[in-house]
């Protein structure tokens, strides 16, 4: 059973009277434990596809399945529960809740899931140390660099052990050193924890880390290739 299955997915937006086909009959399977990059020029549909897979956007037609469960007909509450239990998100920016410290941001998803306090604190402390943020646990996002904030966001995305992590331009606001560190972390988590990664990007350096590259153009899949991760 694939981690993600999209069957003939269409999504159209309207700007005035002009129709924009963000997803145009997209069919795609992503295997469990895969490391996939969705690549497209700006407006090519990669973020829409990522949001559709994550249950943040609803297709006009077609089917979306996550871990064998069809999600495109679920209600808001069910989608929220699905995201909470199965999917970790890393966004391009505005990733953290500004009034919560690094540790509290990492604990946020676990707390909403109902994980007991002691367990939350232990898991958050361990994983923050693993990503090199030991000593920064009590800092607010405003007191951390962009790279540190993005690592906290990644930590939050994976701390509850989701089967699938969706990342939208995760390195867009990072310098090259921070971007390399972040991608190294993704690869480590993919290889050692078996987490499936789907990353939307147009950054060639990020694409180089992926084992599979899916290119989109005007909402259509125009290329889907396996590659040796670098």
């Amino acid at each position: 059973m694939p981690a993600v299955r999209c069957i003939d997915v269409c999504r159209t937006y309207y700007q005035g009277e002009q129709a924009i086909h963000a997803l145009d009959h997209v069919t795609l399977d992503i295997a469990d434990g895969d490391f996939v990059c969705l690549s497209a020029p700006s407006g090519g549909g990669k973020t829409t596809l990522l949001n559709t897979i994550g249950g943040l956007d609803r297709p006009d037609s077609g089917e979306v399945h996550i871990a064998g469960r069809r999600i495109d007909r679920l209600g808001k509450g069910e989608l929220a529960d699905l995201r909470l239990a199965n999917i970790g998100f890393v966004f391009q920016a505005f990733n953290l809740i500004p009034v919560l410290t690094a540790r509290e941001n990492v604990e946020f998803v676990m707390q909403v899931q109902g994980v007991p306090g002691a367990e939350r604190a232990q898991r958050a402390g361990e994983i923050l140390a693993e990503v090199g943020l030991a000593g920064l646990e009590d800092r607010l996002p405003a007191d951390m660099s962009g790279g540190q904030q993005q690592r906290v966001a990644v930590t939050r995305a994976i701390v509850s052990g989701p089967a699938l992590v969706l990342a939208d331009e995760p390195t867009a606001n990072l310098d090259s050193h921070s971007a390399d560190e972040l991608m190294g972390l993704f690869v480590h988590l993919n290889e050692h924890h078996g987490t499936t990664f789907v990353i939307a990007t147009h950054d060639q350096r990020v694409m180089a880390y992926a084992r599979r590259l899916v290119r989109l153009l005007d909402g259509r899949v125009v290329e889907d290739v396996e590659q040796r991760a670098g």
Binding site: N51, G54, L56, D57, K76, G77, A80, D81, L82, R83, L84, A85, I87, F89, F91, F94, N95, I97, P98, V99, L100, E104, F108, V109, Q111, V112, Q113, G114, V115, P116, G117, R156
Partner: protein, 409 residues
Amino acid sequence: MHVVAILFRLAWRNLWRNRRRTGIMLAAIVVGTWAMIFMTALMRGMVNEMVRDGIEALPGHVQVHHPAFRDDPSIANLLPIGDGELEQRFEAAGLGRGATRVRVPAVVTSEYDSRGVTLLGIDPEAEAGMTFVDEDEVEGRFLDGVNDSGIVIGARLADTLETGLGKRVVVMTQDPDNEIADRGFRIVGLFSASVAAVEEAYVFIGKGTAQELLGIGDAVSEAFFVGPDYRHVEDLRARVAAALDERVVVEAWYEVDSYLATMLGVMDGFALVWIIVIFLALSFGLVNTLVMAVFERVREIGLMLALGMRPRNILGQVVIESLLLLVIGLATGTLLSWLTVLPLDDGIDISAVGEGMEMWGVASTLYPELAPGDVVLANVVVLVLGFLASLSPAWRAAHYEPVAAMRKI
């Protein structure tokens, strides 16, 4: 439970993100709450004082009369049971604080003028502390027994009659045979009352002296009793009625003086209306604060929804934020109003405007009364209406689409 904990944490911290805005809103709630409670305390004090003065002038919480006395409070409608028998019945029923009176219309005349008054024949010992005449408020002396030969009149009546302490006046009334009964009295005391009109309406003589003047043996016009609380007199009335028979009527004070009872009802209504009016003014600020707070955090709300927080939790977060603001404001405002009322225990002198208010039975000193019921009412009304007012921005926040919300700038 875990979700509630994070909602409280988020709500609390979000509250202090814009300290200035929160501070201004808090100040408005504090001042509004203070105004609600303090003004209600002033009004409550004024009305209660009116009711207390009124009850003291009636007097008593429960009264016993001849069935026709209310229509014709004259010598013709004395109680059909004599004073001695009444005393025995009341003692047998274990009724405590009470007394009997002779009450007839009369004319009091000095060498210069005359006035129509209500002549009260009383037992000063039995009435001590139950009626409006306080020994401390009497110039000269009060009556020292039922057979005292002196008369106590109001200071204002003395001015009107151009008479004074130690001078003589003539009291003229009718006996049961419709014959003139009159007698000269020396003024032994001038009383002052909190309501000046009372000083002109009543004159006091001993009960025995009045019975002798009127030739009515041991008959009396009325009996009255004072209970522990004028708001709860039903039990006392039932006990008094049980001790008597159908030849008399037993009435609570609010039946004897429906104006006073109406005043109390009006006061309760006024308190609620006043609280709601103040809240309506506050609610604009509250809703505006919450709308702004939500508007500034659209992206965060989108993020939390994207991460798997349910819309109802977002709604809860905004409502909790509103309730925290209200609870802090209400607690501070309530404390402030209590601290304002506390030093006014000796009353506020309103004699400068008192002349005009006397016609309404309002005393010249106002004693603010912080009634627990009013404080609870103010707090509950603000909390409940505040909760309802916060639902609109909270509902709006809960129904953002995560992706659209995260794109907001």
